[in-house]
Point group: C2
Chain length 286, copies 2
């Protein structure tokens, strides 16, 4: 069976790299220019699944994805792809011999942040120009040979847009991975099988507190802790209703069951918390 999979484009973004790495030829791949457009596409049925970046080990959550999921387009996470991120420095082939003289660096803001120290040391005076994705940055420099610019992007981008990699692995921290969420309107939908990958159980829960008291968050964590439901992540994001109002995203290293997680959720609701299970799914590691 062939699936249509939407991803954050253009071609050769890290999302595209993740999709290609896991799915090989069994699917049709459709790029979308922005994260919201990609998420809207699966909501209206233009694609079977959408894949967008969710969290990077260095830069943290991709706020646009999290906020759009929580406030605008309530999809479910039905799977997760985890891939290592290697950032390379590349230029238009015409500039291969003079790459150390570029006066502008083009990339996604996360990629520039991930190479902050390298850029600070090697190109202290270069201007930074932010693109919507590393793929879009590579596309821009490929079609603007007049710009004296370098790009930070992945190997696939160099191939697709015909750029020359002049320095490999310029990211500051070696342990750099990104999580990509597989999204679908229905919580019970299963993504295409990935032969050869086993997957780890994970459940993502969003919790809003009834008040800003430290006591309540403490109670929330108690509900998981005494059941030995191990959290692999807790992250706060503003509610957009005022400074100091947060919601929390909590990842549990457990599949949804019929006793423990529902019991914790019921307890939290009885405390006055808002609770929403964003998904219970498998995380696959490349």
């Amino acid at each position: 069976m062939s699936y249509r999979i939407g991803f954050l484009g253009p071609k050769a973004t890290f999302t595209h790299l993740a999709v290609s790495k896991f799915f090989h030829e069994q699917i049709e791949q459709i790029p979308y220019a922005t994260i919201p457009a990609c998420m809207d596409a699966v909501a209206v049925g233009d694609v079977d699944f959408s894949i967008v970046p969710l969290e990077n080990a260095i830069e943290g959550s991709v706020n646009l994805t999290v906020d759009y999921l929580v406030h605008e387009q309530p999809l479910h996470i039905v799977g997760e792809l985890v891939v290592p991120i290697n950032q390379h420095f590349m230029v238009h082939p015409d500039r291969e011999s003079s790459w150390q003289q570029v006066d502008k660096i083009v990339s996604h803001s996360h990629a520039i942040a991930q190479c902050h120290r390298y850029l600070h040391n090697e190109f202290p005076l270069a201007e930074h120009s932010y693109a919507a994705s590393t793929g879009a940055a590579a596309q821009f420099v490929s079609t603007h040979p007049g710009e004296n610019a370098g790009v930070i992007a992945n190997e696939m981008a160099a191939e697709v847009y015909g750029l020359s990699i002049v320095k490999r692995d310029i990211h500051d921290y070696h342990y750099n991975h990104t999580l990509f969420a597989i999204l679908h309107p229905s919580a019970s939908e299963k993504p295409p099988t990935l032969p050869g990958y086993e997957g780890k159980d994970k459940t993502t829960i969003m919790v809003t507190l009834p008040s800003n008291q430290s006591g309540t968050l403490h109670q929330v964590l108690s509900a998981f802790a005494w059941r030995k439901l191990n959290m692999s992540k807790i992250e706060s994001r503003p509610m957009k209703t005022g400074l100091g109002n947060y919601f929390f995203l909590i990842d549990l290293e457990h599949a949804m069951d019929s006793v423990l997680i529902p019991g914790a959720v019921n307890e939290l609701e009885a405390l006055g918390c808002g609770v929403k299970v964003l998904g219970s799914y498998k995380a696959f590691y490349a």
Copy 2:
């Protein structure tokens, strides 16, 4: 006495607006092009204090400030300025009558995110171009009248760079404030007095956990909760050492004392946590 205050420039950024609102004429204001440059300036003594954005009510923490503070330049927070953020849409005066036809929106990524819904409805096809600050975006459009572009920035930017405001208050959420941190190398340094402002006590603490167990974070919160030390914020950020490794920033609505906060810190250290008080200071509300 006159102080030299460094801020995230160029002229007319929201940081500049905050500095001007609180300090009037008593200080010399020195713009820096980036957050790290601004923080380095106070570390080496080029300025007496540096002021940079720390957290926005809509978009959350300014990751670059938090990460640079934690990983690169260990300054102390000695005060905080809180100002409402109003985003306006402006264009080069030559385009005042045809502003609805712009095909490009230039601004800081947070400002674009804060006006996401407005832009999606009014300029669905316009390209987004990201600048280092709203001030830099306004400066760019002011000096590039050939670009068919609109800018999202504040009132001060329209004045300073001679742009025409064509639509006011285009931010999606009305309760929009930003916190700006006043930074200094010494924790005991007091910022210039602000006559007419009272200020609220606040202490910011960074905590790293000894392991990724939900139990430990639960214990950390217990140490504050049973002492009735109220948290106004808890936020997680990746440690940059791997997916799932976080540090936590905790704001307490209390001034540093000699018993309760030191007692909690000692307990956390005994549990194996790393604890660092980033500052105990007054937060001033415009």
